[in-house]
């Protein structure tokens, strides 16, 4: 603050002194107000909150300087006081200083020089005192906030179902929680301040060691729990961005969190068992239904029907109907079998339960396999299958059966929706992926359906009469397979002119 912002209350019964000192202070740039005795001074101070300092004589009528000091102290009026005194009044000055005055000035020939510096110092001191009080108040608030945060953290840590153990930079345990103590049968008095290598076992020690060596990253491993069950442990280093030192990162310890995953593993196992059982239980009766129906049809056609009089119109009609019905049972049975396969497939894929048997594959061979497998479909409809495979495509690593599944699906769809003409299968390198496409000149797909076809159980377009309907899961399964390998699958089409189904696979 500049001098001009300070106001000084000058108290002296001697008007000459008042005048002299006032002019000195005003010259020094201070604002000044005066009083002629202690009583007047008190009144002036109480009514003017902008007074920053009182400069007072000691000998005054009505209320002297000491009495003024006492009054101010008693009423806890916090203002710095400098006392003025004559040369021979040291004991008066001492009393004043001991009772709360900050400093003193001797009314001698040097007063004009000493007054400014004394006032400055006193005001500085007051300013420091104020700042100090403010700091203490701030500190109090911060401490309170930290205590609250700490209480919350402690509550969280103690109520976490996962086990937590923290060490300092020297590897000594600083913090644990009830969960980890329960999991590993530990007691605080055995572990706090002990080295983790003496308390933890096997896997946990390995994980902690890794965090010491490598500051970034989470290290995870599954392990058995002493009390039975399986847990997943994750350890990481704790780093501090130092605010005071020059270092960007300071390693202050490590922590490990242990989660009991016994239940998760059990549920996983149950899911697998369920899928196994379901597939077996559903397919067995279906085997009987389809199998026996086929045998019946064979017996009828080979033995019984030839023995019937064909000229009997009614009998002939019945034969036709029976043959037709048996055909329906068989095709619906086969459709049900395909549906079971697809449903189990997509359930497994979505649960991430599929075992991908990746191997090095030649795309050319894969497409040939698909062509061979679907040859009969093409022959039945008298359609042509053309191949256009780029030369020199690198082998890719993937599950051959699953990629075959994708190709067969696309090829059989193409056949299904094409009356006559051809289907072309292409494979071409585009950047760092290979794009495989199956193009037909069939009835095509409406623009609004191009994305819909990849959704479960959505069938689009005309299904011709006696063709078995698809399962509605073929394309969603293709999508799962392609996306598993990081590829994309999509369709382009012009209604009435045909469709092209594309899928990409990343090249090694």
């Amino acid at each position: 603050m500049k001098n001009g912002e300070y106001k000084i209350l000058l108290v002296d019964d001697d008007p000459f002194v008042r005048e002299l000192l006032e002019s000195v202070l005003v010259d020094g740039g201070y604002m000044v107000t005066t009083a002629e005795n202690g009583k007047a001074a008190l009144e002036a101070f109480v009514s003017d909150p902008s007074i920053n300092l009182i400069l007072t004589d000691m000998n005054m009528p009505e209320m002297n300087g000491q009495q003024l000091i006492n009054e101010l102290q008693e009423n806890i009026l916090d203002v710095p006081i400098i006392v003025l005194s004559g040369n021979k009044e040291i004991d008066v000055v001492m009393t004043a200083l001991n009772s709360g005055a900050e400093d003193y000035l001797i009314k001698d020939e040097f007063i004009q020089d000493t007054i400014d510096i004394k006032i400055k110092k006193t005001l500085e001191k007051k300013a420091l005192k104020n700042r100090n009080l403010q700091l203490i108040a701030d500190l109090s608030i911060k401490t309170n906030e930290l205590e609250n945060a700490l209480s919350s953290m402690t509550a969280i840590i103690n109520n976490m179902p996962d086990g937590l153990l923290v060490t300092n930079a020297e590897g000594l345990v600083t913090l644990t929680n009830p969960a980890i103590k329960a999991m590993f049968n530990l007691r605080d008095r055995d572990i706090i301040d002990k080295s983790y290598s003496k308390i933890l076992k096997g896997t946990l020690i390995e994980l902690m060691e890794k965090t010491g060596a490598q500051r970034d990253g989470l290290f995870t491993s599954d392990m058995d729990l002493p009390g039975g069950g399986i847990a997943r442990a994750s350890a990481t280093a704790i780093g501090k961005k130092s605010s005071f030192r020059d270092i960007d990162y300071e390693y202050i310890g490590s922590l490990v969190i242990v989660r009991d995953i016994t239940m998760e593993k059990e549920v996983d196992r149950m899911k697998n068992d369920f899928i196994s059982i379901v597939s077996h239980e559903l397919r067995t009766p279906l085997t009987s239904i389809i199998g026996f129906t086929k045998l019946i049809r064979k017996k009828l056609e080979d033995v019984l029907f030839p023995a019937i009089d064909r000229t009997d119109g009614k009998a002939q009609k019945s034969i036709d109907q029976v043959s037709g019905n048996l055909g329906i049972i068989i095709s619906e049975g086969e459709r049900l079998a395909a549906l079971i396969n697809d449903v189990l497939d997509i359930a497994k894929m979505e649960a991430g339960k599929v075992e991908w048997k990746d191997e090095s594959l030649s795309l050319k061979q894969l497409i040939e396999r698909a062509a061979d497998a679907s040859a009969s479909l093409f022959q039945e409809r008298k359609l042509l299958l053309l191949r256009d495979i780029e030369e020199g495509l690198p082998d890719i690593k993937a599950d051959g059966d699953r990629l075959l599944q994708v190709l067969l699906n696309l090829l059989s769809n193409a056949v299904k929706f094409t009356e006559k003409g051809q289907v072309t299968c292409r494979a071409v390198r585009t950047g760092d992926v290979v794009t495989i496409s199956v193009e037909d000149n069939g009835i095509g797909i409406a623009k609004g359906d191009l994305l819909l076809v990849f959704e479960r159980f959505k069938q689009v377009g005309d299904i011709h009469t006696d063709r078995p309907k698809g399962t509605g899961l073929g394309l969603p399964i293709c999508k799962q397979i392609v996306e598993h390998y990081g590829g994309r699958i999509w369709a382009e089409s012009e209604p009435g002119q045909g469709s092209v189904f594309f899928f990409t696979l990343p090249l090694p």
Binding site: S276, S279, R283, P285, T287, I290, F292, L344
Partner: protein, 124 residues
């Protein structure tokens, strides 16, 4: 006289296979049945069939174990083993290979495929 052994714990499936292979019976092939793995192994040792249709999921002893016993332990090279599985794509081909199976057929199977395979193995 050539013999074919049919092994499945489901009576319907045994019947289905028996009827499917009926035409071969007319041509002189003997069809034998077993309803579990243990029985199957005994019959294989006793009757020495040329061809075995072997279901996998069975009580007492499953198909893999029977196949392993026949092919690896007893080293009966002349017995052709067709494994029948209801597992579809989940079928563990590796396990089958380790057990020594010759071929796998998934259920529901095509009766023509069964007859065809039988004729091929028996040279009929």
């Amino acid at each position: 006289m050539a013999k074919i052994l049919i092994v499945d714990d489901e009576p319907h499936i045994r019947l289905l296979l028996e009827q499917t292979l009926e035409e071969l019976e007319d041509e002189g092939v003997e069809l034998i049945m077993a309803e579990n793995g243990e029985e199957a192994l005994e019959l294989i040792k006793a009757e020495k069939p040329r061809l075995v249709f072997l279901d996998i999921m069975m009580p007492k002893m499953n198909g893999f174990d029977v196949c392993h016993a026949v092919k690896k332990e007893l080293d009966m090279k002349d017995v052709y083993v067709v494994m029948l599985t209801a597992k579809g794509q989940e079928f563990d081909k590796q396990k089958g290979n380790e057990a020594g199976a010759d071929v796998y057929v998934t259920k529901p199977f095509n009766p023509d495929e069964i007859v065809g395979k039988a004729r091929e193995v028996l040279g009929m």
